[in-house]
Amino acid sequence: MTVQYVYGVTDAGAEIPGQLKGIDGQEVSLVTHGRCAALVSDLAADRPLGTRDDLMAHQGVLQAIVEAGGTVLPFRFGGALTDRDAVVEELLSPHEDTFVEQLEPLRGQVEVRIKARYVEDAVLREMVQEEPEIAELNQRVRELPEDAAYYDRVRLGELIAQAFTRRRENDGQGLLDALAPRATAVAQHELSREDDVLDAGFLIDRKEREEFEKIVDQVGKEIDGRIHLRVAGPLPPYDFVGQET
């Protein structure tokens, strides 16, 4: 017994790059209805998902469509329907208009994700230089035995955490201001660490990508040694599809 795993929705008549394989190496095909089509593959009905390979396969299928120049609405990992008829009747037919509406602004666009993180030593040094309270505590902690300085160390760390937060407001906004003008849209993610500066998806026109990357490189050079940029893309526009239909 198999079900249809759904990767995303693309244009009717979209080309699937040859021999595209999805989860468990199953061949990916289109189920078409009207103006849009779902990217699906067979999946054993009782097969629990979630291994690294499964995630990679989901991403890989969507990535292949993006790299072939197609437009795709990426679905969240882990959605399936009972069979190909159900894909038409429960997914494509009732949502066709919404899908077309959502595909339209994404045509010719890709997502580029940028994460910026402080270079810890450089910024700590900066804090010691600029913030007397941190400098003083740092000095005191150095002079005391580890046990005796426990609360001072906690306090020092807390001050540093607060200093990161203050810096991030300026630096994150500065990065955003520098990077956003070439983007069609920007989606900011919540940060996961103290020393994160920015985590955002940028929707970029394929024609603007080269220019955008130049800006990224330029910004990267300007902040070199203090903030580190990590760039992933082009990606399917995960951040720019509605969350619920």
Partner: protein, 142 residues
Amino acid sequence: MGSGQIAQRGAPVQQSSGGGGGGLADVVELILDKGLVIDAFVRVSLIGIEILRIDARVVIASVDTYLRFAEACNRLDIANDGSSAGLPQMIGQMTESGAKRKTRGALQGAGETLRDSLGRGQQDKEKAGSRSKKNDNDDEEE
């Protein structure tokens, strides 16, 4: 799919994977948290994922984080602090107005660690705990 290799493009910018796509670590929470969800979907039973998502949300104002910062700060060779990189102008000139970001208190990167380890490709232990019920209710939030 990108090979997951990391190439340096211009010194300070790290581009994950030459062909685009990035390593799994760069996209895993996009795959799990973003993207369209359809009400008609039967959610396939997911293993491991719940843990991953819950961990990503465990946010603790952690004394451990503070102690780690304190230690890192203590390790600095202050004698050399004349040599620190100057503040980049571009950033320095930005005002604090404009879109205000909510910053959470102290954040613990537990989820990140898990994601990173996923990215490095060693999480098959999760297979062991697989359940086979359908209709997982993994997607309650957002």
